[in-house]
C-alpha cells in the first residue's frame, strides 16, 4: 500500500498552482501519526504488500518532528509485523538541513524535490508568502542534495505562466545533474489555444535536447517521453497500472481522515469523497464507489487512437479537480497529450531506427540482457 501522509496543511511557500487547498497551521498529532502508521502497516500485511509512506503536505518538513516520530514508530511496528516499510517524501527542500539528511540516510527516506526548472521558470510560480521567488535559496542546496542522492527525482509543474521557460528549465535540471524528471502540466489552469501552440514549441525544443542527450549516452528519465514509450512497449499491460486511486494508494489527512488521493485532501471543503479514517477504517461503499468510478471508461476517450497507454488520461483526481468528474479529462489535458504523443512517438521512432542502446535497454530489458550476457559482445564492440 502506498499511503500519502499529509503531515500538515501548512507550507512555507504560496505557489498559486498548489492543489492541496488552503494553507493553515494544522499538523497531524503524534497520536494520529502513530495510528496512521499502524493502519497502513496492518493493511499492507493483510494484503501481502510493502508499506510505503510518502510524506506530503503542505510542506512535510514543517512538521519534521512528527515525520521523525512517525518513521521511528513505523519502523518498529513494521519489524514486529514482518512488513517492509519504505519512506518517501515530496518536498520543496527549503527547510532541509544537514541533520535531516543524516536522518534520511539512516532511515532510507528518499525525497522528491519540487523544483520548476531554472530561476525564471521556478520563480514564476514558486514564491514565498511575501511574493519573493524561492529559487535562489533552493539552488544553493542542490549540489548537496544531489550528492546525498544522485538519483534524486525532480517534480516540475508547467503552467501557462511559466510555460515560456519550459525547455530552458528542463535543460537546466539535466545540466545540474538531475537524472529523473517528472513534468506535469497543471491542467486546472485557464489554458488557451495560444498556450497550446507555445507548449508545442517548447516540447519540440525539449525533444531535441533529450534526443541529443540519449544519443551521447546519458541514461535519463523524462516522464513525458519514457512513460509513453514504456506504456506502448508494455502493450495492454501498460494501461492498467497508472492510477491506483482507492486501491493500493490512499491519502491520509492531518486529521486521520482517508481520501482517495492528494488532490482530495481539502478538509476545509465538504465536497470531496472521504473513504474513512485511520481509527474506524474504510467505509466500504465509499471505497467501492470510487473504485468503480476510477475504472469506468473515460469520456470521450474510448475510441481515441491514443487511448492505448500512451495518453496520460488515467489520473482520476486530476480529472475531478478540473472537470468535477472522475471519468472526464480536462480539455487542457487532452490538448497536452495531442501535442505530446506525436512528439514522443517521433523521438522514439528515431531512437529505434538508430538502435540507441539506452532506448533499447529501457524498453526491452530482456533483449539487452541477452546481448550483455553474450561473451562475444565485448570483443565485437556490440551495444550492451
Amino acid at each position: 500500500m502506498n499511503a500519502l501522509v499529509h503531515l500538515t496543511h501548512d507550507c512555507n511557500l504560496r505557489c498559486p498552482y498548489c492543489f492541496t487547498g488552503a494553507k493553515f497551521a494544522r499538523e497531524m498529532s503524534a497520536e494520529t501519526a502513530r495510528r496512521s502508521a499502524e493502519f497502513v502497516i496492518d493493511h499492507a500485511k493483510e494484503h501481502g504488500q510493502r508499506a510505503v509512506f510518502s510524506f506530503f503536505g503542505g510542506e512535510p518538513m514543517m512538521a519534521y518532528d512528527t515525520l521523525r516520530e512517525m518513521v521511528l514508530h513505523a519502523e518498529k511496528v513494521a519489524e514486529e509485523r514482518g512488513v517492509h516499510a519504505v519512506f518517501r517524501m515530496n518536498t520543496n527542500g527549503l527547510l532541509i538541513k544537514e541533520e535531516h539528511l543524516a536522518f534520511f540516510e539512516q532511515h532510507d527516506l528518499i525525497f522528491i524535490l519540487s523544483i520548476d526548472g531554472n530561476q525564471a521558470m521556478h520563480d514564476a510560480e514558486r514564491r514565498t508568502e511575501s511574493g519573493h521567488g524561492s529559487f535562489e535559496a533552493l539552488a544553493k542546496k542542490l549540489p548537496r542534495f544531489l550528492e546525498h542522492n544522485p538519483g534524486m527525482m525532480a517534480s516540475v509543474v508547467v503552467t501557462p505562466t511559466n510555460l515560456p521557460h519550459t525547455a530552458d528549465g528542463i535543460r537546466f535540471l539535466f545540466d545540474a545533474g538531475f537524472r529523473f524528471l517528472i513534468i506535469k502540466p497543471d491542467i486546472t489552469q485557464p489554458w488557451s489555444e495560444d498556450h497550446v501552440a507555445e507548449l508545442s514549441r517548447q516540447y519540440e525544443l525539449v525533444a531535441e535536447d533529450y534526443l541529443a542527450r540519449m544519443r551521447r549516452g546519458d541514461d535519463l528519465y523524462l516522464n513525458l517521453f519514457d512513460d509513453k514509450w514504456i506504456n506502448h512497449a508494455k502493450g495492454a499491460e501498460g494501461i492498467s497500472i497508472r492510477c491506483d486511486v482507492g486501491t493500493s494508494q490512499i491519502s491520509i489527512a492531518p486529521s486521520g481522515n482517508i481520501y482517495p488521493c492528494v488532490r482530495w485532501v481539502k478538509e476545509e471543503e465538504d465536497t470531496v469523497p472521504r473513504l474513512g479514517d485511520v481509527w474506524q477504517g474504510f467505509i466500504p461503499h465509499k471505497l467501492d464507489e470510487i473504485r468503480a468510478a476510477s475504472h469506468a471508461p473515460k469520456s470521450p476517450c474510448n475510441d481515441c487512437s491514443y487511448n492505448d497507454g500512451r495518453c496520460a488520461n488515467e489520473c482520476a483526481c486530476e480529472h475531478y479537480s478540473a472537470t468535477g468528474r472522475i471519468d472526464t479529462p480536462a480539455p487542457a489535458l487532452c490538448e497536452h497529450e495531442r501535442v505530446m504523443v506525436p512528439i514522443a512517438d517521433r523521438v522514439g521512432n528515431t531512437l529505434w531506427r538508430e538502435q540507441n542502446p539506452i532506448f533499447l535497454r529501457k524498453l526491452y530489458p530482456k533483449l539487452a540482457q541477452i546481448r550483455t550476457n553474450r561473451p562475444d559482445d565485448g570483443a565485437k564492440g556490440a551495444t550492451p
Binding site: L4, S54, R88, D108, N149, P150, G151, Q189, P190, S192, E193, H232, A233, K234, G235, I241, D244, V245, Q249, C261, V262, R263, T271, P273, E289, A292, A293, A296, P300, C301, C304, S305, Y306, C315, C317, A322, T323, G324, R325, I326, D327, T328, P329, A330, A332, L333, C334, P342, D345, N349, R361, Y364, K366, L367, I370, T372, R374, P375, D376, G378
Partner: protein
C-alpha cells in the same frame, strides 16, 4: 449512464479553458514504429517456447508490419534469426514446441550429474575470478527501473543479484581476487554469509539489501570487521543498500576500500580452522 460524483458547486477549472476541447484522435494519429515487448520478444524467440536468442533487438531493423500480439504467428513459421557463435540450436531446423522437443529427445543416462565444467586456463584467472571462472570481458550492469506511480512517487526497483554481480566483478578486477560466492564465514564469534570472498587473500564483501529483505548488519558485526581490518586479519567491505543503488557510488565505495586494503593488506592463508 455516467455516475454522478460529489458536486463542486461552482464552475470547474475546465470551463475557463476556452477554445480547447477534449476530442478523440481518430484519423491521422501518430503511431510508434518500435514494437511492443511482446512483439520484440516473440521475434527474438523469447516467447512461444522457442530458444533462439540472437538476431533480435539491437541488430534488428524496425519491423514494417509488426505481428499482432494477440495472435502471434506460430514460432515454427517465423524466419530463423541470424545464427551466432553462441547459438546452440541449429537454425535450419524448425522450432518445435518444448513438450514435443522433450518427447523426441533421448532420456538422460541414469545417475549422471551435470557435466563437469570445462577446464579453465589458469592464466585467465590471474586478473581476477569469480567461482573459478575468469571475469567477463564486459562489466556486468544492474538496472534500476520504476514501477507504480500515479500522482505519488513511483517505486525504484532493482535486482539485488544484479548489483552483487556488479560488485563482485569490480572487486575481483580491482584486487585481482579469486572470489567465491556465498562464502560462509565463521570466525571470531561472527557468522556471516559473504556475497564474495577470497579465502586465500582474506578479502571480500558482505551485501545487505533492504529491497531483498535483508536487515542491516548489527553494530557489533561492524565493530568486529573494523577490528579484523585494523589487525590485518581480514578485509571485508560491508555494502548496505538502502536507497537506489548507483554504479558510480558503488564503484567509489569499492575503489576507496581496495585502496585502503592495498596499503594494509591482510595476512594471506587460512583465516581460521572454523572458516569454511
Amino acid at each position: 449512464m455516467k455516475k454522478k460524483l460529489p458536486v463542486l458547486g461552482k464552475p470547474t477549472p475546465a470551463a475557463s479553458q476556452r477554445g480547447l476541447a477534449a476530442k478523440p484522435v481518430k484519423s491521422g494519429a501518430s503511431r510508434p514504429e518500435f514494437p511492443t515487448r511482446g512483439e520484440a520478444y516473440l521475434k527474438a524467440g523469447l516467447l512461444g517456447g522457442a530458444t533462439l536468442l540472437a538476431g533480435c533487438g539491437g541488430s534488428a531493423p524496425a519491423p514494417k508490419q509488426p505481428a499482432p500480439v494477440t495472435e502471434p504467428a506460430p514460432v515454427a513459421q517465423e524466419p530463423a534469426p541470424t545464427p551466432t557463435t553462441t547459438q546452440q540450436v541449429a537454425t535450419d531446423q524448425p522450432a518445435v514446441p518444448p513438450q514435443q522437443a522433450q518427447q523426441s529427445m533421448p532420456p538422460p543416462p541414469p545417475d549422471q550429474g551435470p557435466p563437469p565444467p570445462p577446464p579453465v586456463d589458469p592464466a585467465l584467472l590471474v586478473n581476477g575470478s569469480i567461482d573459478g571462472q575468469p571475469l567477463a570481458s564486459q562489466m556486468p550492469k544492474f538496472k534500476v527501473h520504476r514501477e507504480g506511480g500515479g500522482i505519488g512517487p513511483a517505486e525504484d526497483m532493482w535486482d539485488p543479484s544484479e548489483v552483487e554481480a556488479y560488485v563482485s566483478w569490480q572487486m575481483a578486477k580491482e584486487g585481482k581476487l579469486a572470489l567465491k560466492s556465498n562464502y560462509q564465514l565463521d570466525f571470531d564469534g561472527v557468522q556471516l554469509t559473504l556475497a564474495g570472498y577470497d579465502p586465500d587473500k582474506n578479502i571480500g564483501y558482505a551485501y545487505y539489501d533492504k529491497f531483498g529483505g535483508d536487515t542491516a548488519a548489527p553494530k557489533d558485526v561492524h565493530a568486529k570487521l573494523d577490528g579484523w581490518m585494523k589487525a590485518n586479519k581480514a578485509a571485508i567491505l560491508l555494502i548496505e543498500v538502502g536507497r537506489v543503488p548507483d554504479t558510480a557510488t558503488m564503484k567509489g565505495k569499492i575503489m576507496k576500500f581496495m585502496t585502503q586494503v592495498k596499503k594494509h593488506p591482510p595476512a594471506t592463508g587460512p583465516l581460521s580452522a572454523s572458516a569454511s
